[in-house]
Symmetry: C2
Subunit: 337 residues, 2 copies
């Protein structure tokens, strides 16, 4: 391939993103200056957090500028290196963006051992997704055997791992997802129970039925009306890990909901927002434990792979719509044999 | 006095409590059985949490039953003892309720050294109120010098102490209260700034002005629209201590507000509900530190004392209406000379 196809942000989405908010264009394949590497991407990661990075609202990082290549994690092959830390042929993971080829100074780039697991896992269960589940559940919520854990977005990349880690810790795990196929996928991963929030719309009653001992931990990827139904059922010293609020990302104006801080006093409960990047110093611990669980067969993962860089905006929009089960990826070139 | 006047709960209030929700009656003065003491109350404590205890809603303790003496802390004199741990004449603090005389088995009753400070402080700055401020600020929020602390209900019994402890810790302290007199009282206690939420109704703009570096800590006694204005201005790793939600206690139906969990992710912030009773094992530390600060002149306190047991319901309703500055007390008999 002699060109670098790249997807840039064409417009800031209002409400739900459209494919026309992105633009595919071509440039020459870049070359490495001193200290740099050139990476040809194999898989791109498509994640809910990206919705925040293309909005104009205050967030934890500067938004992607109009005309800029869309940010995102990717795994790829080093095809050129003037950085002594990397050799041609190395498999690496980093924030390479939505493009075929990326230039990097190597900072924040992680070498991947291709013998360990399929390369795509470096973006999922053995990547930021897995660590998000790991730290967001274990560090924020400290689950104890016998506790009841509710996970929203439970069939998604993070939620599906959260539920499995909670099972490893001996918890009763209830997942909430948006289709019967997703429910089945959750059960196949070992979740104790779950419901389809699109068809079982009395969330409060359904949670009451599935969580007879109340809710000790809520790992929230979704927010909105699901959270409203969880909060009145939390137990003493409940912990709520706020990982995502995907139900709110595409609203044109903020949604209203019942106030519930008074219930936090009654339960002496904690709500904690977090980002995986805050755990950077503990990444080695997380990668090591997740790899061990994977090897022991205690963790499984689902992937939803779309082919072709040009389909990345569509895959992103589909993920925001909940069309994926497990980690949403885009394959942009063939993995090495 | 040959009778024991007692105030019982006559009806569960709907919305704002009325005096007719309470009933004054008389019984004989009780006497002590083996292991018991009889206490004649001097001061009764009147607190926001009592609103929750007379509602039918799920809470952290069983509600006061209709016909039962209203619960509450009091300080008084032991006037009869068949408990070897207490002697006639001891000054004690405990949950003696809204009555002249109470019988107790001595459990949870604390002896007060009357030489240390005025007896009324055993219900305020050197009592549960002071410890609520102490643990709710220091343990839940861990304030650091230079951080900005916002306190709602800042002229109240807890809020006024929270602000002073935050000043001891070197913070920039902004209080929110409901009258200009209260604002002045806060400033007299050393708060850096504040506003009257009844007259300055653009809470967001006012907080923006008074907290130019954003908000690191929010100690919330009030909730509602004040919280809505605080949350969008929290800094990275902000801590929110949920002590009370007095704006919500007397609503006939739950209030709606904008959803803000997404902002907790952006700021990686924590919201924690707490009750002082959860810190029971650390009470000695709290009492000792508060007494030391009081002695060193680093802590001051305001009291709002109403005379006469029969006026307790009125004092309670007035406190819910924000008529008190500092700790609301009812004096039911003369302190010892």
């Amino acid at each position: 391939m002699s060109v670098n196809r790249r997807i840039t942000l064409a417009a800031r989405p209002v409400g739900f993103p459209k494919e026309s908010d992105f633009l595919l264009s071509e440039l020459a394949v870049p070359s490495a200056a001193d200290g740099e590497i050139v990476v040809r991407s194999i898989y791109l990661s498509v994640d809910p957090y990206m919705r925040g990075r293309i909005s104009g609202a205050k967030s934890y990082a500067a938004p992607v500028a109009i005309g800029e290549v869309m940010i995102g994690g990717a795994v790829g092959t080093v095809v050129g290196s003037k950085n002594p830390g990397f050799a041609t042929g190395d498999i690496v993971e980093g924030m390479f963006g939505w493009q075929d080829y990326a230039v990097s100074n190597g900072k924040g780039v992680r070498k991947i051992d291709p013998s360990l697991a399929p390369l795509s896992t470096a973006l999922g269960v053995l990547g930021m997704t897995g660590l998000t589940a790991y730290f967001g559940l274990l560090d924020v919520c400290d689950p104890k055997a016998g506790e009841t854990v509710v996970v929203s977005g439970a069939a998604g990349a993070v939620g599906s791992v959260v539920g499995q880690i909670a099972k490893i810790k001996g918890c009763h795990v209830v997942g909430i997802a948006g289709s019967d196929d997703k429910l089945q996928a959750m059960k196949d991963l070992g979740f104790d129970a779950g419901f389809n929030y699109k068809t079982d719309t009395n969330y409060f009653a359904k949670l009451k039925e599935l969580c007879p001992k109340g809710i000790d931990i809520y790992f929230d990827n979704v927010g909105g009306a699901l959270t409203d139904a969880v909060i009145p059922q939390i137990n003493l010293h409940a912990r709520i890990s706020v990982c995502g609020q995907i139900s709110q990302y595409n609203l044109e104006k903020p949604e209203m909901g019942p106030r519930w801080l008074g219930m936090m006093i009654v339960a002496r409960a904690k709500v904690q927002g977090f980002l995986v990047s805050d755990y950077y110093s503990r990444f080695p611990e997380g990668f090591s434990q997740m790899a061990a669980w994977l090897k022991e067969g205690k963790l499984q993962y689902n992937e939803h792979i779309v082919e072709g860089l040009e389909n990345t905006p569509k895959a992103f929009i589909g993920m925001l719509n909940g069309q994926n089960t497990g980690k949403q990826l885009v394959q942009v070139s063939a993995p090495p044999a």
